[in-house]
């Protein structure tokens, strides 16, 4: 199996490319919450009303020239719903076989519009690396196209009206996924979190099934949506990221220079395990992939490309793994298949 080709068939460009500041920033995401003006919010509306909303989304897709596709969550199986979560196209809460839930997706997998989640419409755009402004530009266009096709709830005073008052106003949640091994290994996690809090930003660790943060990956997003313009929110988060990127690079360099032997040993041990292990949980895989990616980004492992590690971090997740090998797997089989897939991908590069 030509894994490079297979991975690219399953993964969107925000995963298969590094993007700006790709050594530290994995991806940028924009989410806009919108509601239809004449239908009650999804948590209280009748099924009939929500189906009306879904039908509107269907007509929007038919008229749009973006080659969108509307997927009804009740019309696909559990693994396919989970796959949409793992590809970040829907939220975990949306992965439910409900007749009113849908998601509009673009062919490239960079745009999705959840229909009847907490709000009627949640537009989402994903980009590789640190690229919030570009992602917003696209989300803004989609928003205009939606507003031309259906009545959107808006008041000049409060802005875009949402089910939860924490999203009202711009309805904008901008977030950046960061790979911060330098920060974690040097024990600076809480300092960074403290700075986030002072700057009105929320930081969250991406968790696996254990208690440790999965792969030293964090997501930082804006906390407030009302009282600032979209531009202010984007610029604020971007400049924070620029500082954290500089700090992360400095810490990586410092760790490498001050503990060179230990550092190299850890990186190559991780690569060794990934290249030869026969069974691997997703947690262990994330931890090792994170270390190898750090090694590549620092130039310790010259032959590998960092983007391959980014791809592997996504494809090792349970649903995508099953989609790629094309069969249903139990947890034990998944660990075997996961190890096999990583081994094969790494050996294809080495040969």
């Amino acid at each position: 199996m030509d894994l490079e080709r297979v991975f690219r068939e399953h993964l969107s460009s925000w995963i298969t490319q590094l993007g700006p500041e790709g050594d530290v920033v994995l991806s940028s995401r924009i989410r806009l919450a919108r509601n239809l003006d004449d239908i009650l919010f999804p948590s209280v509306a009748s099924e009939e009303q929500l189906l009306k909303g879904l039908a509107m989304a269907d007509r929007f897709v038919a008229k749009s020239d973006r080659q969108f596709k509307l997927i009804r969550l009740a019309g696909i199986d559990e693994v396919s719903r989970q796959e949409l979560v793992e590809k970040h196209l829907i939220s975990p809460e949306h992965a439910e076989a409900s007749p009113v839930k849908g998601v509009i997706v673009s062919p490239a997998g960079d745009i999705s519009i959840m229909v009847n989640e907490e709000d009627h419409l949640r537009i989402q755009v994903l980009k590789a690396g640190l690229d919030l402004h570009e992602a917003y530009k696209l989300a803004d266009e989609i928003d205009d196209e939606l507003a031309a096709a259906m009545p959107i709830a808006y008041s000049p005073k409060r802005g875009y009206l949402t089910a939860c008052p924490t999203n009202v106003g711009t309805g904008l949640r901008a977030s950046v996924m960061l790979h911060l091994p330098g920060v974690v290994y040097s024990g600076q996690t809480n300092q960074i979190a403290g700075i986030c809090g002072k700057l009105g930003l929320v930081i969250r660790g991406l968790y696996g099934e254990g208690t440790a943060p999965s792969g030293e990956i964090f997501q930082v997003s804006n906390q407030v949506t009302l009282g600032y313009s979209e531009e202010e929110i984007l610029t604020h988060l971007t400049s924070f990221c620029e500082q954290i990127i500089a700090e992360e690079r400095r810490l990586r360099q410092y760790l490498w220079e001050s503990k060179r032997d230990e550092f190299e040993d850890q990186v190559f041990r991780a690569l060794g395990t990934l290249s030869y292990a026969r069974r691997m949980s997703s947690n262990e895989a994330m931890e090792l992939l994170s270390r190898v990616k750090l090694g590549i980004d620092l130039g310790i492992i010259p032959k590998l490309n960092s983007v391959i590690l980014k791809e592997l971090m996504v494809v090792i997740r349970p649903a995508l793994l099953q989609k790629i090998v094309g069969q249903t797997l139990g947890p034990q089989e998944r660990d075997l298949t996961r190890a096999g897939l990583i081994r094969e991908r790494l050996s294809q590069i080495n040969s």
Partner: protein
């Protein structure tokens, strides 16, 4: 946003934990996060944001309530009491129905009470017209249910909008 562990300091760290596909989230302050151990926490922390927001609404930290609990939205029927429990509105009109109480809530959870961002790409006059139509429809409803207080508010809002828009 207050810490879900101590409830005293502002929360600025959000934990997402996924166990067997079940996602739970906890928002903590920096100090509690350090006490709980660097990014590890027990299963007792699975408090939802929903509970947390409704806690904030019920604390009534901003002094006495301006809106009596039985106040409700004429469009969806949601009472302020129910909003306090769920932290979720029922429809877009709720924002008008609970306008005053909302000012105080927004001051706590947002950076301001007024929208500074994008205006939908419509002719400004068109959107004022539809706003006017909407207010007039709501006024009719308020009169029907004999909510004269609300009707008076709506009449003022309509007057203000007409003046502002030169309609």
């Amino acid at each position: 946003m207050m810490c879900q562990r101590c409830g005293v300091r502002p929360a600025n760290i959000s934990f997402t934990k996924i166990v067997n596909g079940e996602k739970s989230e906890a928002k903590l302050c920096q100090q509690c996060a350090a006490e709980v151990g660097e990014f590890s926490f027990g299963t007792g922390m699975g408090m939802s944001f929903q509970n947390f927001l409704s806690g904030l609404l019920n604390q009534n930290l901003w002094g006495h309530s301006l809106v009596p609990d039985e106040t409700s939205c004429t469009n969806c029927g949601l009472t302020y009491n129910r909003f306090r429990q769920s932290g979720r509105f029922g429809c877009a009109r709720c924002y008008d129905a609970f306008d005053e109480e909302l000012d105080q809530l927004l001051r706590r959870i947002q950076a301001g009470t007024l929208h500074k961002g994008k205006t939908p790409h419509q002719d400004a006059q068109v959107s004022k017209l539809s706003e006017l139509e909407r207010l007039q429809a709501e006024l009719k409803k308020a009169v029907e249910v004999e909510d004269y207080e609300r009707a008076a508010e709506l009449r003022d809002a309509i007057q203000a909008l007409k003046k502002e828009g030169g309609l």
